[in-house]
């Protein structure tokens, strides 16, 4: 510990690389990507191998190494939450509309606003999406290559981190929902569309339905 850091000399041993990755991940409250790790470790180090070693070392401990999207982070083991009441962060109260919208984005991403509205049967207020974006759980993805080029919404790494998911593929019940055909985008046949409620508290969307809806009876 008193020696000067040997980072300019030979390639550190794997054990030493594990120590380094451990230190970097411990120091950060947000997930750190493998790429960031590679940049911060001495040249030639292999963060992936060090991460695998660390993951084994921390399995079953009070603190565990979690994979979150492209990144890794240490998090306390969920079964010990009862000890950590004092650390509990006051969660922002989400409306039912916000929670449902979040779930729809997570399971259907990338998804357009019109598709969210189709699923919920009611217009999505701007405030709901804004809130989810502000919480960094949702971000705007690519535009859909359909008429009007609508923006799509996707969930973020912060979302994965918050809900303890390695990736969006690990969403609970995803496989069953897919098998049941409930995640297919099944555009209603002409004239078959169940009327969509455009009434909304914020009512900013009601005036601007997507263009294709306007002319579906053509």
């Amino acid at each position: 510990m008193t020696d000067p850091a040997p980072h300019s000399d030979a390639l550190p041993s794997l054990a030493e690389q594990e120590r380094m990755v451990e230190a970097i991940l411990f120091a950060s409250s947000r997930p750190v990507t493998v790429r960031d790790l590679a940049e911060r470790l001495p040249a030639g180090c292999d963060p992936a191998e060090a991460l695998a070693g660390l993951r084994r070392a921390y399995a079953g401990r009070g603190v565990v190494l979690e994979r979150i999207g492209d990144g890794y982070a240490f998090r306390t083991a969920p079964d010990l939450s009862f000890l950590l009441q004092t650390e509990t962060v006051e969660q922002r109260r989400l409306s039912r509309a916000a929670i449902e919208t979040l779930a729809i984005i997570a399971y259907h991403q990338p998804v357009t606003r019109a598709e969210i509205e189709e699923i919920r049967g009611v217009a999505v207020s701007r405030g709901t999406l804004d809130q989810l974006i502000e919480m960094e759980w949702v971000r705007i993805g690519r535009r859909r290559m359909t008429p009007g080029r609508p923006a799509t919404f996707v969930v973020t790494e912060t979302f994965l981190d918050h809900f303890g998911l390695e990736s969006a593929r690990d969403l609970p019940g995803l496989a069953e929902l897919r098998a049941a055909g409930l995640l297919e985008s099944r555009p209603p046949v002409e004239g078959l569309r169940v009327p969509l409620a455009l009434r909304d508290e914020d009512d900013d969307i009601a005036a601007t339905p997507p263009p294709e809806d306007l002319f579906e009876d053509d």
Binding site: V89, I99, A103, G121, V122, P172, G191
Partner: protein
């Protein structure tokens, strides 16, 4: 999620079994409850889903005909109670009334467009999908969430940012620099010769030293430096620079300038002390 999980949801009055003895108090309560209920639904699809659950069957095997009847009865009741329903509830009612009539009539082989069965199936699909998303949302919120069941490091250590400047200079730069110095006598970069230019800075320096003595209006021309008052470019440059310098001094509030008319001589004087701020 069971209906009990949704706090605003109250039992929808079952219209299929008429009350034997309508209790006026109970009826008024039901009316009030209904108002609250309509407020609580997030649109007709939400209401339909709630009604569908009263059928107590798998949503896949829901009777859409029965559902349409439940919905229409609900809307009828709301109307009877003079509860103002939003337009989309009425649009849905019209659509369901249409669907119901199509479902009851024998299929018309000539009819174009989707069959009544397709429409019913799609409605059932939508209800099932909405229900599935609600369940997914509940599962999601029940996970081990960060800040509730899982915690990040309480004392993250910030990454210190250090900025280091790396100076770029090669041997060639060094040699060029030295060569430049050594050959200065034989090589001089091309530059304008500015012998006949009197700069504003020079004029300002000159005037600053003199304005203390200019108590009364004095012609600008009297202030041209020696050797610059003759004709030609030197005089023009000196006049322009001196005039610009007086403007600067006037802006600073140290002198006053006047010119009686166009092309008349310009004169200036020190600004009287009393007027200075």
């Amino acid at each position: 999620m069971t209906p009990a999980d949704i706090p605003y949801l109250r039992p929808v009055p079952d219209t299929s079994v008429p009350d034997a003895k309508p209790d006026p108090v109970a009826q008024r309560r039901a009316e009030e409850a209904l108002i609250v209920d309509v407020e609580g639904y997030e649109g007709p699809l939400d209401l339909l889903l709630t009604l569908a659950r009263t059928q107590k069957v798998d949503l896949m095997r829901i009777s859409v005909l029965h559902l349409a009847e439940q919905y229409l009865a609900f809307v009828e009741q709301a109307r009877a109670l003079r509860i103002e329903l939003a337009a989309d509830y009425l649009v849905m009612a019209a659509w369901l009334a249409f669907l119901k009539s199509r479902l009851l009539l024998p299929p018309d082989p000539e009819a174009e467009g989707p069959s009544a069965e397709d429409m019913a199936a799609h409605l059932a699909f939508q209800l099932e999908r909405l229900q599935a998303m609600r369940q997914a949302a509940a599962q999601l919120m029940g996970r081990d969430r960060l800040g509730i069941s899982r915690f990040p490091r309480g004392t993250p250590e910030a990454v210190a940012r250090k900025r280091r400047t790396e100076w770029q200079a090669g041997l060639i730069d060094l040699m060029r620099a030295y060569a430049r110095l050594k050959t200065r006598s034989e090589f001089r970069p091309y530059a304008f010769d500015r012998q006949d230019v009197f700069t504003m800075e020079q004029a300002l320096d000159r005037l600053r030293g003199m304005i203390g003595y200019v108590g009364d209006w004095t012609d600008l021309a009297d202030f041209l430096p020696e050797g610059w008052g003759a004709k030609g470019t030197r005089r023009r440059s000196a006049t322009a620079a001196t005039f610009a310098a007086t403007l600067e001094l006037a802006r600073q509030g140290r002198i006053e300038i006047r010119q009686p008319g166009a092309f008349a001589p310009i004169s200036f004087r020190r600004k009287p002390e009393t007027e200075q701020p």
